[in-house]
Symmetry: C2
Subunit: 259 residues, 2 copies
């Protein structure tokens, strides 16, 4: 901690740690901005105050605020637009729809292919199994919402997904609302439930479908599928969704850029 920092000290004076937990000012500013994002002071799609305003508010220079915003923008939490301002990132109205969906057609791209057709197969409330509870940081038996849906491209069923959502934050979510909503599911989560998905982890395997899966995807039991298990997190690394996807990869593939 710098002695000229205008912010509270991060370690008590009578118990100095060996690693003094030095944290640069801009990191602390980043934390404060994050708090405002979590608390909903600035909502997805809205603009946050200008750099000068934030600098005055936190009593630091514009450059320090800038570096904090830079990091939040590279984390995809904020979006800068020159001449207009800095905006809270959103899954809706964003040119990159389906930011977390990495399945792309072998030829062409998502634009040439057109939008997916969605069908909600099932949507019900139930009690979390030990496995689901662990993934969502709940307790076994807590209320969860389970959704099963099929995405089709050009009339061909391509993705079968099972989702589990914590019952509390998603109270009131029904099959109707899911079916009626046009746009990414994560956009609905933002606008209707105030839950913004920030990052996710995926575990990918190759599997053979069970009977119900082969029927819904209209493929033989012998057709290998990509199994994509995703845990999506909101602010503060809180898991808010477990999703098990089964992707047909006969005319699509999962694309990943390594760097």
């Amino acid at each position: 901690m710098n002695n000229h920092s205008p912010l509270a000290d991060t370690h008590s004076s009578d118990a100095p740690t060996l690693t003094p937990a030095f944290s640069p000012l801009y990191q602390q500013i980043k934390g404060l901005i994050l708090q405002s994002l979590q608390s909903g002071e600035w909502k997805p799609g809205e603009s946050i105050p200008s750099e000068m305003e934030l600098a005055a508010r936190y009593r630091v220079s514009q450059g320090t605020v800038r570096k904090a915003i830079d990091e939040l923008a590279s984390d995809n939490l904020l979006v800068r637009r020159q001449g207009k301002g800095t905006f809270v990132a959103t899954h809706a109205e964003q040119h990159v729809q389906y930011r977390f969906l990495k399945l792309v057609p072998d030829q062409g791209d998502l634009n040439t292919e057109g939008p997916a057709q969605r069908e909600i197969v099932d949507c019900k409330r139930l009690r979390a199994s030990a496995e689901i509870a662990r993934a969502l940081a709940l307790r076994t038996g807590d209320a969860v919402l389970q959704v099963r849906r099929v995405l089709s491209f050009g009339g061909i069923p391509t993705i079968l997904e099972d989702l589990w959502l914590p019952g509390g934050p998603f109270k009131g979510l029904t099959a109707e609302r899911l079916a009626d909503y046009h746009g990414p599911m994560y956009a609905l989560f933002e606008t209707e439930f105030g839950v913004r998905m920030v990052r996710a982890d995926e575990k990918i395997r190759a599997v053979l479908p069970v009977e119900s899966q082969s029927q819904l995807l209209q493929v033989p039991r012998s057709t290998p599928l990509l199994s994509v298990e995703r845990v999506a997190y909101t602010y503060n690394d809180t898991p808010m969704e477990l999703r098990r996807g089964f992707y047909r990869t006969d005319s699509h593939h999962y694309h990943n850029a390594l760097s």
Copy 2:
């Protein structure tokens, strides 16, 4: 282009473009540093000149050099070490060995699992098919090197890989040198052939193995495998490797972090 720029103008004066191709100073500096990396002026693992030296060399301020280096570091081309200097990134001796390998054990991590056992199954020179040539930006019939190898974890063959490398840059690569080398293959490419892989694209599918693949991986033909097709690029987006991997996912999974 800024009028105070000490560098050459980027567009001719008699053919002004509608979008004047304004490029900030630090981007131009980034390009100059990139040139030095490509030309081999600074080799993988070595340190580059200090920020102050580079600022003097390019006649800009330290802050401008800093921003250029920041971007190159976030692209994984450079590594900053406080108090020591800035170093050219390398696939060798880097704590993240196998930076491009996303297959991880279901339990534990790469450290608990220990190193992989490698076996070179085949290594021969041949002429590029149209498909291979296209992927490597060569012409059909150009000389390429084809390698097949198996990676095992804990004695269990888990990865079968076919690689194609352009014959020119990799002249002199033999099965012996591959087998004798301990460490990541991309590290050998750096030290022996001056080829540094910078980024890669992967296309992932679920497939069933053909007979030869099922034998090498010791699984039945009915075991679905992850098919991972990778094109790896060196500086300047030049493709330098096509790799087709087949991963067993019964006790491992492909991990991907989305953000």
